[in-house]
């Protein structure tokens, strides 16, 4: 199933992110996906060597999830592959029946656990989207014909609504839409006001946007994100809230409440929600219950 079909039916689209492990044992990931996500999210993003940390591949994990009856979204970054490998992997995805893509530029190599690696960035999120669109039209990026029926995907991308330079982000968003992006997932949002202002401006592009949610696990994580993670800012009162009841925060309940509140507040301004739980997949059903988002109907 392409998630663009859900947007077209005006469904509030729920997705969650899972990260393949650094190793080949993914039973745990699959068990969690069945237990906590199968009835609650429409599709699962599979990260592509997230934060430039080398792990099992996104495409292979997508295929495993698909065989398990789940709907994967294949995240592809431009950091590790040139245009030949990227286009080839996009065709491979089609061959394996994977229909949803999320197209990203990717974090820089030095941020990860193999900082000596060569950064590629032959294409970027915009030109990669263009390349996928060309494949859908039956040609590769160089204009060579692709044999037989071309593939068709739901093409997604990301944007940072709470970036300190949101106008620059909106310009990039426009370029992505022009290149063929059909839905957006946002970077983590903690400031609803900024999100509303962003959506007011993003409306003109006529493309569905899913609110990005990162579960705030503790104060240290929030401070780290404020100092280091682009486009993410946890306001002081939220940090105070996490500080207030240490036991509750430690149990994860404060973070769950904050996420539910953010979803509730922003729900009417967007077309879905994308939850980045960073290992806390088991808390996602609770967040959605608290936010008043019903289990999905298949």
């Amino acid at each position: 199933m392409k998630i663009t079909e859900l947007f077209q039916r005006d469904e509030f689209v729920i997705t969650a992110e899972v990260g393949p492990p650094k190793g080949i044992h993914i039973d745990h990931l699959i068990d969690d996906a069945h237990k906590f996500l199968a009835d609650r999210v429409h599709a699962l993003n599979v990260t592509d060597n997230q934060s430039s940390v080398m792990r099992t591949g996104s495409l292979a994990t997508c295929k495993v999830l698909k065989d398990e009856g789940l709907t994967p979204i294949f995240q592809i970054t431009c950091r590790d592959r040139n245009r030949i490998a990227l286009q080839s992997d996009v065709l491979s995805a089609a061959l394996l029946g994977i229909e949803n893509l999320l197209l990203l530029t990717g974090d820089y190599t030095t941020l990860g656990d193999n900082p000596q690696a060569k950064p590629v960035f032959d294409l970027d999120s915009v030109s990669l989207t263009h390349a996928v669109k060309r494949l859908e039209e039956g040609f590769d990026l160089a204009g060579n014909e692709v044999d037989g029926e071309p593939p068709k995907f739901a093409k997604g991308a990301v944007v940072s609504p709470c970036s300190d330079s949101v106008d620059v982000q909106l310009a990039k968003m426009e370029a992505k839409v022009k290149a063929g992006v059909e839905y957006f997932q946002t970077q983590g949002v903690y400031e609803p006001e900024k999100f509303f202002n962003f959506m007011e401006k993003a409306k003109q592009f006529g493309v569905p946007v899913q609110l990005g949610i990162i579960i705030p696990k503790n104060v240290g994580m929030c401070r780290y994100m404020n100092a280091n993670v682009a486009g993410v800012h946890v306001p002081d009162d939220m940090i105070e809230e996490l500080k207030a009841d240490k036991e509750k925060t430690k149990a994860g309940d404060t973070g769950v409440e904050i996420c539910a509140r953010l979803i509730k507040e922003c729900k009417d301004h967007c077309q879905g929600v994308h939850i980045m739980s960073l290992g806390w997949e088991n808390r996602i059903p609770e967040i959605l219950d608290l936010a008043g988002v019903a289990p999905i109907t298949k």
Partner: protein
Amino acid sequence: MLITQLKSKEAIEALAQGKVVIINCHGCKEVYFAEHEADALQKELSASKEVTQIITTDYICNPDNLKLQLKKHMDKINAADTILVFSCGVGIQTVAAQFEDKHVFSCCDTYPLPGFQGVTPLNVDCAQCGECYLNGTGGICPITACSKSLVNGQCGGAKNGKCEVDKDMDCGWERIYRKLEKLNKLDAMKYDVPKVRKYGNPDAE
């Protein structure tokens, strides 16, 4: 050693809008500069466009030297709508940085040859990509000012205007956006087909 090759006559003519000042750099012995072709083309431009001054000087890559050399031409430069620069990529960026409010355009593409690369100031760099992007980016090079050498705009990695790779480095695309905003040229970031780098050998057509 590097080679600067003229952009096409049509491309250069399209850039020559309003009152035009032309700056040639003949400074660096490490650069092969298409002097005679440039001269012929500028004669044609002078006949068809409003060229108010042609300046030929040297080492425009050095900001202090550039300022000194242009001193006696400042009346013409202040009155100009467009400055066309015939030099390597470093020279164009230095001129663009010097005249923040002017439309400064590159008339050359710069290709590398192995060996020593001539005199460059420390804060500006030309990667000799052979497909000069400076005309669409306000004279700030996306290949060298962006850690990822992105050509279609900012990635999601900038925080407080700084690059995710090096917190002491300004985000190149944020600089480009602000410069285009200042020049009222943000439309330069709106084009139909995304830009894709050409890594093939430029001689192997």
